[in-house]
C-alpha cells in the first residue's frame, strides 16, 4: 500500500462517510473500507477505471469532478478526498470550494513542484521536469495547474481555509509542515497531504 494512502487513512475516523474524487481504480476506496469500515463513494472520469471499480463492488459514479460535485448537498460527507488530482483541474480553486462545501473536511494531496529534484531538473536541464510522480511530458500532461507545498499553504491562508493537518512526505518518510519549516519541507518533500476545513 502506498504510504500516501496509509496517511490518508490515519486522518479518517472509522465508519465515516467518504467521497473519493478521482478515485481511479478504487485502490484507496478498498483500503479505507478494509481499514476504517467507511461508507464510501467514488467519482471517476475514465470509463475503464469506472468498470474496474464496479468489478470490485465499489459504489462509483462516472463523472467529471468539475461539473458533477454540485449534485451533492452541503456537508453530505465527513471527508472528501482528492488524491493527486487537484493539479489536473481547469479551475482548482472552484473544486476546492466544492470539496469544502460537500465535505465537513477535505483531504487534498499534491505532488510538490517545489521538490529539490524538480527544481534541479529545471535548473540544470532547462526542460520541464519529468519525475516518478509527474511522469508526463509538458505537451501531453493532464497536470495543468501544478503547485508547490508553499503555494498551497499560501493559497489556503489567502482563502481562509484552515489547514488542520499539513503533512510532508519524502519517499516514505512522514513529517509535519509548520510555519518554521515551510521552506525546508517545500524543498525536501515530493508530496504534500493536507486536512482542510473551512
Amino acid at each position: 500500500m502506498k504510504q500516501e494512502f496509509k496517511i490518508i487513512s490515519d486522518l479518517i475516523n472509522e465508519n465515516s462517510h467518504v467521497l473519493d474524487v478521482g478515485c481511479g481504480d478504487g485502490i484507496l476506496m478498498e483500503y479505507l473500507v478494509k481499514e476504517k469500515k467507511v461508507n464510501i463513494r467514488g467519482i471517476e472520469i475514465s470509463k475503464t477505471k469506472v468498470q474496474n471499480c464496479i468489478a470490485k463492488g465499489l459504489t462509483i459514479i462516472e463523472g467529471n469532478a468539475e461539473e458533477d460535485l454540485k449534485q451533492f448537498p452541503d456537508k453530505s460527507f465527513d471527508y472528501v478526498v482528492l488524491s493527486q488530482t487537484l493539479q489536473a483541474f481547469l479551475n482548482p480553486e472552484k473544486v476546492i470550494n466544492e470539496l469544502l462545501r460537500i465535505g465537513k473536511q477535505a483531504i487534498v494531496t499534491i505532488p510538490n513542484f517545489g521538490y529539490w529534484k524538480i527544481r534541479l531538473h529545471l535548473l540544470l536541464k532547462g526542460t520541464m521536469p519529468v519525475t516518478r510522480t509527474l511522469p508526463n511530458e509538458w505537451y501531453n500532461t493532464p497536470n495543468i495547474h501544478l503547485c508547490t507545498i508553499k503555494d498551497f499553504v499560501y493559497f489556503s491562508k489567502d482563502k481562509n481555509f484552515k489547514l488542520s493537518k499539513s503533512i510532508a512526505l519524502r519517499s516514505n518518510q512522514l513529517s509535519y509542515i509548520k510555519d518554521g519549516n515551510l521552506n525546508l519541507k517545500n524543498l525536501s518533500s515530493n508530496l504534500g497531504i493536507f486536512l482542510i476545513e473551512r
Binding site: H17, K47, Q51, K56, I60, I61, E62, G63
Partner: protein, 372 residues
C-alpha cells in the same frame, strides 16, 4: 398470436384501482420464470420489459419461436445469471402476451375491449406486478431491473415499494417522458389510427388488422432505437439486391428494406391497440410530477442500492436524463452508482451484445449479492 398454451398466468383477484379511476379485479397477469428460487428466497430478480417486450426474457420465445428479447443479458452464466438468480418477468397489463389488455373480452359485455380498455399507467403496471411477490412468497427481491420502459417501471416500483428490493437497476430510461418521446409515440399512434382497418380500435370485431399502420409505427420507432452512426456503418447508402437506383419507390436502399422487414415481422407478434395503450402509459410517466417537482422524494424511503446505466449514443433516453435520476438520489445521500457505456448502437444497446454493459451489469449484481 395463437400458440398461447405455453403461457403461465396468475389471476389477480385483489382489486386494483387504476390511475384513471377504474378498478379492475380477477384479471390475468402472464409471467415467466427462469432459474430457481433458493431456500431463503433472497435470489429473485424482477425484470421489467420495454414497450414491445414480453415475459419471455431469454431462451426461445414459445409464441414467436425467436430468442427472448434479453437473451444477451439473461441466462446461465450471463449477466443476470439464471444459475444463481431466480428471474421473474411479467407481461405488462395493457400488453398482448397474455396479461390483461385491450384484446381481452370485457367480462361484463363479453365483447373485446379494444379502445374501451381503461388507459393504464406505469404505476398501474407495477401495482399489478407486485402481486407476483406474494405468489412466490418473496418478502424482498434481490433486484429490480429493466431498460427503457422497463427502467421506468423499476423507478416506479421502488418508489411504491421502497423496501421490496435490495438493489435497483434502471437502464437507458428517464424519470419523466420527454416532449420528443411523446412526439415519437404520437407519430406511432397516428400511423395506426390512419390505417382504415383500425376501425376506431374495433378491428377484431370486424376481422381486420391495422397491420400497415402498426408497421409504419414500428418503422418510425425503430429508427429512434438506433444511432445515426450505427445506421451509417451498417447500411450507408448500400442498395438492396440491385446494382443501381430504379427510379421508383421500391426499396432501393438496404435501410428501406430493413425497416420494411422490421415493420412486417412486428405486426405478426404485436397488437395495435396494445401499442396505443403502452405508448400512452410511457407518455403519462412523470415521476417528478408525482413527487411535486422533487424527484428525490420518490426515493426518500428506500435504502436500496441503485445502479443507473446509460449509453453514449442513446438519443431517445440520453445520458443527461439518466443522470437526473443519479442527481436526485445523491441529493438525499442514497447509495447510487452510475456508468455511461460507450456504444454506437443507440437506445437498443441495452438489448444487444455490448460487452462493457453486460460486464458492468454482471459485476454489479454478483458483488451486491454477496453484500450483507
Amino acid at each position: 398470436m395463437n400458440t398461447k398454451d405455453n403461457i403461465k398466468t396468475l389471476v389477480i383477484e385483489k382489486p386494483l384501482k387504476l390511475d384513471c379511476g377504474q378498478t379492475i379485479n380477477n384479471f390475468p397477469l402472464a409471467y415467466e420464470t427462469y432459474g430457481s428460487l433458493n431456500k431463503d428466497k433472497d435470489n429473485a430478480i424482477l425484470v421489467f420489459h420495454a414497450l414491445t417486450g414480453d415475459q419471455f426474457v431469454t431462451g426461445t420465445n414459445p409464441v414467436t419461436k425467436k430468442d427472448g428479447w434479453w437473451s444477451y443479458a439473461v441466462g446461465p452464466n450471463k449477466s443476470i445469471d439464471t444459475n444463481k438468480y431466480f428471474v421473474i418477468c411479467a407481461n405488462v397489463i395493457g400488453g398482448c402476451m397474455g396479461s390483461f389488455g385491450p384484446s381481452h373480452k370485457n367480462p361484463e359485455t363479453q365483447k373485446i375491449y379494444g379502445t374501451d380498455f381503461p388507459v393504464i399507467t406505469i404505476n398501474d403496471m407495477v401495482n399489478a406486478q407486485i402481486n407476483l411477490l406474494d405468489f412466490f412468497g418473496i418478502k424482498k427481491l434481490f433486484s429490480v431491473v429493466g431498460g427503457s420502459m422497463g427502467g421506468m417501471q423499476v423507478l416506479q416500483f421502488i418508489s411504491n415499494f421502497p423496501d421490496k428490493s435490495k438493489t435497483v437497476i434502471p437502464i437507458a430510461c428517464t424519470s419523466s417522458h420527454s416532449a420528443q418521446n411523446i412526439a415519437f409515440n404520437e407519430l406511432g399512434r397516428q400511423a395506426i389510427a390512419a390505417d382504415h382497418n383500425w376501425k376506431e380500435g374495433k378491428y377484431t370485431l370486424q376481422n381486420t388488422v391495422p397491420d400497415k399502420g402498426l408497421a409504419v409505427a414500428r418503422m418510425a420507432a425503430h429508427i429512434t432505437y438506433l444511432s445515426k452512426k450505427g445506421l451509417q456503418e451498417k447500411f450507408g447508402r448500400k442498395l438492396q439486391e440491385r446494382d443501381d437506383l430504379k427510379f421508383g419507390f421500391d426499396a432501393d436502399f438496404q435501410i428501406e428494406s430493413y425497416l420494411r422487414y422490421q415493420g412486417s415481422v412486428f405486426v405478426d407478434r404485436f397488437d395495435a391497440n396494445s401499442y396505443l395503450y403502452i405508448t400512452r402509459a410511457m407518455d403519462y410517466f412523470d415521476l417528478v410530477k408525482q413527487n411535486n417537482g422533487n424527484l428525490s422524494n420518490a426515493f426518500k424511503n428506500t435504502k436500496a442500492k441503485f445502479f443507473v446505466i446509460s449509453f453514449t449514443s442513446d438519443w431517445l433516453y440520453p445520458t443527461q436524463e439518466n443522470k437526473d435520476i443519479v442527481i436526485a438520489l445523491n441529493a438525499i445521500g442514497a447509495n447510487v452508482g452510475f456508468v455511461e457505456i460507450k456504444s454506437d448502437k443507440g437506445h437498443d444497446s441495452f438489448l444487444l451484445d455490448v460487452p462493457d454493459f453486460l460486464k458492468a451489469l454482471k459485476n454489479f449484481l454478483d458483488k451486491s449479492y454477496l453484500e450483507e
